[in-house]
Symmetry: C2
Subunit: 361 residues, 2 copies
């Protein structure tokens, strides 16, 4: 398993868009009482969805449709947003954008098709009032603009989109990403199969991604970081200790793979991504966190010419286990990247400004 390391905090070499077919777009507003935004992941060719909700205070939409026993087995977009429960309205805008492109669950078939209903799973973080005005929150237009901005080569991370108003353990939070290539051994003369696992995390956590003892992230193996100076570590501890009583906080995200998986398998993939969250954010899954991870499986592969499925029944669970391990590791890296890539907005200070020597490129 090769992790695509981040050569620096600001320019990740691995991204959820390394999973072919996934596009990411952000839209946000800051200043004049605003500090919030929306991130949309668009999959024009569709993906098999899954979800695991493990926080005590979630804000979600269309999660029941993703249960393995339920009907919908393809989605074309996922919406992550600030705005707490109000921000669930952003999915309306993603739905409208998808409907205009005839992407969604088809109503009627063939020449009798009368339209589509796009199923857009969504989850939100609590950032109400971070920009100064409690009533400034994302609506449908934010979702539409985030969908419209979606690109395969997304290069904006950190304090953008749904991460604009995010806060993580007293520091500025953000949106992070990472990807891993998993090589699944071929059997019966078949060639090895390279499968991509990508993750996107919006970190607005009650817990911290930074170990106060070292001043470095709990999960830092994919990053080249220097140990912060003692002065920097002291400043960091003051920031971490100084955060207000935790209220409503959340890490939300997506783990995606190019493998062809069933809905139940994608649910398991989303579930084990929470292990990465547990390692990267401490504590996690509190009563005040709405921690939610969506899964997406596109069923295509990055680097194979012929095989498009995990086909060998005897080793299918073994191959799935490799993807589960990558799911946890990649989601952990995405969580850490979110905080490393964040930039200071207003009175929320970013890690890179508290510990500049650690995150210097």
């Amino acid at each position: 398993m090769k992790s695509r390391g981040h050569p620096s905090a600001a320019t990740p070499a691995g991204s959820i868009t390394d999973v072919p077919g996934l596009h990411v777009g952000h839209y946000q507003r800051t200043g004049r009482g605003w500090q919030t935004g929306t991130t949309a992941v668009i999959v024009p060719a569709g993906a098999v969805p899954g979800v695991d909700v493990r926080g005590g205070g979630p804000g979600t939409r269309e999660t029941d449709a993703l249960a393995p026993q339920n009907l919908v087995d393809q989605v074309h977009g996922v919406c992550l947003s600030g705005g707490s429960a109000y921000g669930l309205a952003t999915a309306d805008g993603v739905m409208a954008w998808l409907e205009e492109r005839n992407l969604g669950f088809p109503i009627g078939s063939g020449s009798d098709q009368v339209g589509v209903v796009p199923v857009v799973p969504a989850a939100v973080i609590f950032d109400l009032g971070r920009g100064g005005q409690f009533a400034n929150r994302p609506g449908a237009e934010f979702g539409r603009r985030a969908a419209k901005a979606a690109r395969k080569t997304q290069s904006h991370w950190g304090s953008v989109g749904a991460g604009t108003g995010a806060k993580a353990g007293g520091l500025q939070g953000g949106v992070g990403t990472a990807s891993t290539i998993v090589t699944i051994p071929g059997e019966d003369g078949q060639p090895d199969l390279d499968v991509t696992v990508g993750a996107l995390a919006v970190v607005n956590a009650n817990g911290s991604t930074i170990d106060p003892l070292t001043g470095l992230p709990w999960e830092r193996r994919c990053f080249q970081l220097r140990r912060p100076s003692s002065t920097e570590r002291q400043s960091l501890v003051e920031v971490l200790d100084g955060q207000a009583t935790p209220r409503l906080n959340t890490t939300i995200g997506i783990v995606a793979t190019s493998a062809q998986l069933t809905k139940a398998e994608v649910s398991k993939l989303a579930s084990v991504a929470h292990d990465g969250l547990a390692r990267a954010v401490r504590p996690a899954h509190s009563m005040f966190d709405g921690d939610t991870v969506f899964g997406l499986a596109t069923g295509t592969h990055l680097m194979t010419s012929e095989s498009t499925t995990l086909r060998v029944p005897g080793s299918r669970n073994g191959a799935l286990n490799q993807l589960l391990t990558a799911s946890a590791d990649t989601f952990a890296t995405a969580c850490t990247h979110a905080v490393l890539a964040a930039t200071t907005i207003g009175d929320l200070t970013a890690y890179r400004d508290v510990c500049p020597s650690a995150s210097r490129d």
Copy 2:
């Protein structure tokens, strides 16, 4: 929050039996084709139960009765065992032992009570054949003997009871324990409340508790360990790499607290203990792991004279969050302790024998 550190690997200062009312007993057989056993946790005064099953291949009993919406709100014992699904028979012996003491769900009331039905939640690990004979597995008698051996001052840990045939990432696994004292701030002039959280883990994991890069446990903050020599680290990597293809593996355990909690809260406590598992054992929750954690809340306290509940509604979730954080941390420490306390049996080598300088007392 104070963690009761382990001054050495072999003699933990913190134990699940620090939660008043909990007794732990082990029974095991080794040699002549045997290497398996059973661990019983007995709570004569009863405890509110919960459970979270997060592995892909669990072996459990009486978990449905623990769902918050279901009837049973007190259990008097939990049974953990080797023997894979066959080992679920050990709960029969714990039931019989409890029935003889009239401990269980009462049938009829007052003078019309005709008897009890003890509800004994159980989970098993896969250790079939580790002693040489596939057919040598624990039955009801193992459960009865483990219950009979239960003591408040349990001092046997490591390769005993349900951990006798356990294997963790190629090393000998075992049973580990830990405890934490959580101080919940008093409100409205009430005194602070000291609540104990204890954990017991049987580590038979597909993943490893040891970081191959350092040769030390992933979660080691509660232990005084030296860095192993380069020769030891080399031996360790060979052991970790040399393990056979993972088959059926599992970490099972219990997180217990002296706080008075509802069934739903105890379920959440068990759920967040899996975060500790995710940090201590990497990877965890695979399709071949039957990872299961039970929760128990006794409703008594270690060090308070008057308060027996988390009473203040406004801060109840805040107090619960403190317990959830302790649940993850304490369960992680118990998992690590299981491997540090393990001793070599047969051809399964213990960490202390591969890296003796790390775990020297």
